[in-house]
Symmetry: C2
Subunit: 214 residues, 2 copies
């Protein structure tokens, strides 16, 4: 397999974690989202992905896009170890936690959205951070609440990391980057710390990627 | 089954279509997202869903949240008729199309985001519409491009409607609501028109719901 991504992109980070948890490897092609006006906007890249987003995963002759779709594909094609529980309701609970990040938080901190805030609303760095803090803070508080009634397991939904952590850890990384207050998120913080001790998460960290910048 | 939703919410609309396609029914509890400062923000509603979002689906004693998770649950528990194809790559392609809507377009037109634009950036109705037009227009153009290389079937991924249409039709409804130019989206427009002829879609239309307003 091969994949195209960017060290700091949450969705690329999700894919790296999932590959690591599954014990899979994929050759990496860096796509710099800022340099050259955005390397994802070239005709060559758009021919692979008309959405001009990372990541793209190539398997055989097929190009897969959108991390939620890629992650479900990985789970279907490489079921061991599983990233989702067995029971339908439990699967729905994990997927709801993931969607709370993928559909409520992450889209609002995307590069193109933050550029719009700067260019159209004249926001400076502080204004952009206030925006990110609002949505990441509110969204992660909801994620903390989603886990509040559950048993105090080491990871979000049990004693092994899975799809919830694939989404959570990159989002916690972004929270730190945008200086989000996480003091009221003890459960999420503990889960992220437990993940950081595992090679699949440590190796997937943006700072460990070949295209990493300071 | 029972569900809590709002006539104009895209994610409630998705759920209604999917239930209809599966031949299922669920008792409806309206949650007015604007009236009373937002009925989804009450303690009683938050006890069901800490995210304070619609829809919620109740099955037995379980409360399911987040439409992407609920839709996958429906597909797993009520597999006939299927809303996703059989092959893993084909499933990934359909899910990528759905995620292009659920993770790239829909979050940016959410009520709480539009309220922020008004309150914090002082945007008027025209400013809010310009924002929506940018993200819905760009996102739907990408969806049109995702289908460009595919056979000219009646629906997005074949001759029967499925998960792609469950996401697309509510998004096209929102596009009209925010006056998005759709002239350059002939394929999506034709698919939405084909859907409108089917009872599962016609019955799920916001205007046909008991809580509908003009």
């Amino acid at each position: 397999m091969e994949y195209w991504g960017y060290f700091r992109s949450s969705s690329s980070y999700r894919l790296r974690i999932a590959l690591g948890l599954k014990g899979l490897t994929a050759d990496f092609h860096p796509v710099h989202l800022v340099k050259d006006g955005g390397q994802q906007k070239t005709d060559a890249y758009r021919a692979m992905n008309p959405q001009a987003l990372v990541p793209v995963l190539k398997t055989g002759d097929d190009l897969l896009t959108q991390s939620p779709a890629i992650l479900e594909w990985l789970e279907e094609v490489y079921p061991d170890p599983p990233l989702l529980p067995r029971g339908a309701v439990e699967r729905a609970q994990v997927r709801a936690f993931c969607a709370a990040i993928a559909c409520e938080i992450h889209p609002l901190q995307n590069l193109r959205v933050l550029s719009y805030l700067r260019e159209t609303y004249g926001q400076d760095q502080a204004g952009v951070e206030a925006w990110c803090q609002r949505w990441i803070g509110e969204g992660l508080a909801a994620c903390e609440a989603l886990l509040a009634g559950r048993p105090a397991t080491r990871f979000a939904f049990g004693d092994a990391p899975g799809m919830a952590e694939v989404y959570l850890v990159p989002q916690m990384f972004s929270a730190a980057r945008f200086k989000v207050e996480t003091g009221a998120l003890p459960r999420l913080t503990a889960i992220a710390a437990a993940c950081a001790e595992l090679p699949a998460f440590a190796d997937a960290h943006p700072a460990r990627q070949p295209d990493a910048e300071g």
